[in-house]
Amino acid sequence: MKPLWQWNLTDIVQALHRGEVSSEEVTRAFLERIQALEPRIHAFLHLEPEAALHQAREADRRRAKTQDPDTLPPLLGVPMAVKDVLTVRGMPCTCGSRILEGFVPPYNATTVQRLLDAGVIILGKTNTDEFAMGSSTENSAYGPTRNPWDLSRVPGGSSGGSAAAVAARMVPAALGTDTGGSVRQPAAFCGVTGFKPTYGRVSRYGLVAYGSSLDTVGTLTQTVADAALLFPYLAGFDPRDATTMDVPVPEVVLSQEPDLRGLRVGVPREYFVEGVHPQVEAAVHAAIRHLESLGAEVQEISLPHTPYAVPVYYIIAPSEASANLARYDGIRYGPRIQGETMWDIFFKTRGRLFGPEVKRRIMLGTYALSAGYYDAYYAKAQKVRTLFRRDFERAFREVDLIAAPVAPSTAFPLGSKTQDPLAMYLEDIFTLPANLAGIPGLAFPVGFDQDGLPIGMQLMAPPFQESRLFAVGHAYQSTTDWHTRVPPLHP
């Protein structure tokens, strides 16, 4: 039998149901794994091992006592981790920033609440680029997370902590957030499955806002089936988030038969251009051919506005961020740097406690919204944004799904792009469009490069068609084994 820490979420849930394993055993196995690897990977910003074990024992007692196991919370006793931009009542929430050091929110994010209601045990909070702004987790004020496949490389970002934790099998699953690719890109870099829902499908309440019109809460798991398992617990209308949609959440039933006949897969030519690493391109093409071998019809499509994704995103997201981050003034919560006057407190607190990338984006956004520039930047960017939606609408009249690389390259070395923000921004070029259009996306491993680093492919579907992503992703994974590979870490 595989050691417990190698089990995926689906296996764990089933074994717990059947009483083959206890929650305490599972939780302990992952906590031990964390203890052994955390010093090298630094996936976590906060851990509560004692509380987790206590909850695990509680879950086991509950399971032992019940007459009718069907009435138990379906994920009772399953350990998970949560990215540190989502609030968990009673756990510090730093967002990877000094400006929220010591801040303990008295409320749960809706997604967290729903997981807790389903019985999940939260082991801790995972590392992130400061306020989710970054593509490498190097912008965390608390030090970078390292890629479990090569500790000298980044795990991607901004959900790098969650992706690395799942890749290193420190947790079976973790929540992440995806504003411009922050779940899918680290999933690709770490060789795990990253799922980003439709905007409006999953509540943002308790997700510390970065780019409000782009932010989504997603999952990092070993498998597509695991993502599909978690999805119904996270999705659905939330009275606390006016941007969630009252669209029924379908029950996800994954077929045992990997049959993709009748499925039309579009391959956007704008995603296979100069700058994409040849090995990435080759692996993604091979994966697309694999889908074809399962019965899918593949055709080339065009998403003509793809080249504008970076400029449009880097106007809209920072503009929203410039307002979203205005509340961190040292007055009501978080540390305060004293000053002579009120303004002095504002300037010093914000000036010293925000990191350089956050300041850069606040300034970008403030500029783009300023009188005299608004029309040229923010208003124009919003107009172009509608063109992205139209690109996808047109494409989805011809195809059911779009398949493309997640990122132009595999995980890059720590520090290699930190001095060049623009190069870092270009990392997101293939993930940004799904956020700009609000459509769901799923990233999973489809190969490894010559350095042994994972390569990811993403599937994109029309709004609210997440189940299509799961069906195809699962068909792929039930006929390949890339997702089962474990980084060669020796505790």
Binding site: C93, P105, Y107, A242, E320, R327, R332, F346
Partner: protein, 493 residues
Amino acid sequence: MEYEAVIGLEVHAELLTRSKMFCSCPVVDLTEAEPNTAVCEVCAGMPGTLPVVNRRAVEYALRVALALECHIARESVFARKNYFYPDLPKGYQISQYELPLATGGRLPIRTSHGERSVRIRRVHLEEDTGKLTHVEGPEGPYSLVDLNRAGVPLLEIVSEPDMHTVEEVRAYGRGLRQLLRYLGVNTGDMQKGLLRFEANVSVRPKGSQELGTRVEIKNLNSFKALEEAVAFEIRRQIRVLEAGGRIEQETLGWDEARRVTVSQRGKEEAHDYRYFPEPDLPPLVVDDDWLEQVRAEMPELPWEKFRRFQEVYGLPEYETALLTADRPVADYFEVAVQAARKHGVREPLRVAHWMTGELFRLLNQRGLSIEEAPVPPEELAALLGFLQRGDINKNTAQRVLAEMFETGQRAQSIIEARGLRQVSDESRIHQWVEEVLQAHPDEVAKYVKGKEGVANWLFGQVMRKARGQANPQVVRKILMERLQALRRDQANA
């Protein structure tokens, strides 16, 4: 040269909803609630929280917009107005900007020059800020933040620069306040800052179509301040122009103590609020069903009531204005008129006079509102019935009303318990008259000889004998008949 003032008003009204604009915190009275007790993570601007629109606040805003005959936007948009201040927890205020809830309405006003209307530019929803209290501490000044008010729904109503005199400003201000109170959306309390006015004032040569440079006056927390500040500013601007000067565009405050406007904020501090659509809130959609539902809940509007009171009750303008100033007063009047009719009192004007005279005087003395009046309208009507039937006279009625006010007792109980019912029974009165005439033969003799004035003295004696309970008209009639009979007897003798 003759000058003309051009004035526009901007009104902020806190809406009387139970909960705040974007969260479920209660709306509390700042003067009573402990600071920061009506605050949650949403209105405190905690990380990760999101606003949700209070539908009741939208309905209140729609009432106002409908009453002002505005064009109502089927889709309006909330925006973020960005600025730093410790009373603004999120660092931005959620407000409507480019696409407000309603535009282009009008408010009818009444001045000594008759009736006209002032055009409304826009009506929109936003959230209020917290409240800062600046304290002079032993180690220097500091400020306290109370977030109880943060996120309270605020309605902004902006007029066109349509007013030209202080009288029009007064009529508009009072008219709008009356309307908001009628609609049940605001208390009209200016002292507590629940209703706040800002005035834009400019002057121009009479006859000119161009607008002069305008100033904005803030901090107007009473109608008196509003009127005085506008009057002051008109005089000041004319003086500046007449001396060949120029008006600076600026924001002024009203210094209540010195009764002058003072500069508050210079140009160099002008804000760039960097408005952009609030991504946390989808456009606010008002569909037909919702609008119809709000329309169905609309009460009679002040000017409609005014017209009806004149037409149905035949009241003069002065009484109509007094009785329709407030809905509870008008309601009291209508109940009283109905009830009075049952008591045989058929003239609404009589009810109106008793209300605006005696009742208002008693209420004022005790500082009570009509809703707090210890005398319900049915009882005022009953009292007027006693008066109408001649059971009591006017003086007694006044005394009884005062006592009803004091004790909360019914008119009938007081009149009976005190034996105040006046006697109109002629035989009783005959008897009293005879007794008085017999007791004062000398005075009777004087009258008979032609001293007319004695009749009044004798009248007084009869009233005294009746301890004020005799119907004075009947007393006078019987006394005079008897005296004249005596005179005739003397002449015939």
